[in-house]
């Protein structure tokens, strides 16, 4: 079902919850994987997905259709995740620990990670990126979103996003090549 159709149903009296369920069914999985790749943890991804969808339910009556529904949802999810990562980094700094090392360790012992060595190296390289660059790389590399859509999600110009993605791509590439040339 198209987003427009879902929104039309949502506007009908007494059908808000039904329309919202359609929305959840359509986007929850995509949103979950987007969050999961940024947090490297199922529990954190689950909590953030729930808070994203609760916010979407709360603010859907104010949605003006100036942007696409899925970019609006991605925007909420990305903001929630970036805020969460910022807090986690701050907590790690205050407890004199390295957040990147914590994430790497989590990934190493994650039983739900079924990737090969190259995939593990890629995830480790992504962890080392700054949070926003991580989001840019993930949206473009894994989700194949257009820069225009990413611009709506991250509220950043297309030019800046292109530069950011290029930097992220080169960093990861260099790291992978260094790891697998040894």
């Amino acid at each position: 079902m198209e987003d427009k159709e879902i929104l039309i149903i949502y506007k009908e009296e007494g059908k808000q919850e039904y329309a919202f369920n359609l929305l959840v069914k359509k986007y929850s999985e995509r949103l979950y994987w987007h969050i999961r790749k940024l947090t490297c943890s199922h529990d954190d991804a689950n909590d953030l997905l729930q808070s994203t969808l609760v916010k979407a339910w709360k603010y859907l009556p104010e949605f003006r259709e100036e942007s696409k529904l899925y970019t609006w949802l991605y925007r909420i999810a990305t903001n929630e995740t970036l805020t969460f990562l910022k807090k986690k980094r701050l907590t790690a700094v205050l407890s004199l620990s390295n957040y990147e090392a914590i994430l790497e360790n989590k990934l190493k012992y994650d039983s739900s990670f079924n990737g090969d060595k190259l995939q593990l190296a890629l995830q480790k390289a992504i962890i080392k990126l700054p949070d926003k660059q991580k989001a840019v790389f993930s949206l473009r590399y894994f989700q194949d979103l257009k820069y225009e859509e990413m611009s709506e999600i991250l509220n950043t110009s297309v030019g800046a996003l292109k530069a950011s993605y290029h930097h992220a791509y080169q960093k990861i590439k260099a790291e992978l090549e260094e790891t697998f040339d040894e």
């Binding site: 369920n21 959840v24 199922h42 339910w57 994650d110 739900s112 990737g115 190259l118 995939q119």
Partner: protein, 176 residues
């Protein structure tokens, strides 16, 4: 012509370059997994959150717990601060009270100056045995004091020295 050469060189470079490691197809695959049926359970969990079942009471409890923790922390800080102030003030008050007492007694002494007569009486009573009879001491001293109150001229000094048989050399020195 030159442009074509550059383009050809670029094409050759691209061909000679090793393949981009990030273009490996497996890298775009999702390496993470979730429990079976996880996504179908999201709706129920979400419904519970939206309609405030379970999660709200939990959030109310956690909010209350946060408020209580903050209140306890403020009470602790206030209690510690008050104790420190109380202890410091008690010490200050005590030392201030001591100093006030000392000052008061000094002030009392300063406010009631002792007259010469009283002093002489005191010395007479306590040290009379060393300086002779109390009455004679008092009379003699008082007389001397009265004498000292009058200006003494040079002739009187000379006469006193002659009368008291002071050696002649001392007299000469005194006169000079």
């Amino acid at each position: 012509m030159k442009f074509n050469n550059i383009t050809n060189t670029r094409k050759m470079d691209k061909k000679q370059k090793p393949t981009d490691i990030l273009q490996t197809p497996s890298l775009k695959e999702n390496p993470f997994t979730v429990q079976e049926g996880y996504f179908s359970g999201i709706e129920d969990e979400l419904h519970a959150k939206i309609h405030g079942r379970g999660s709200e009471s939990h959030s109310t409890y956690s909010n209350l717990r946060t408020v209580m923790a903050m209140a306890a922390m403020f009470a602790l800080i206030f209690g510690l601060g008050y104790s420190v102030l109380y202890i410091t003030n008690t010490d200050n008050t005590k030392s201030r009270r001591d100093s006030i007492n000392t000052t008061t007694s000094s002030a009392t002494i300063a406010e009631d100056p002792i007259s010469d007569t009283e002093l002489l009486q005191y010395f007479g009573q306590h040290f009379g045995q060393y300086i002779g009879d109390e009455a004679s001491y008092n009379q003699e001293t008082l007389r001397n004091i009265k004498v000292a109150e009058h200006p003494v001229n040079k002739e009187e000094i000379e006469q006193y020295l002659i009368d008291s048989n002071v050696p002649s050399l001392v007299v000469i020195a005194a006169l000079e």
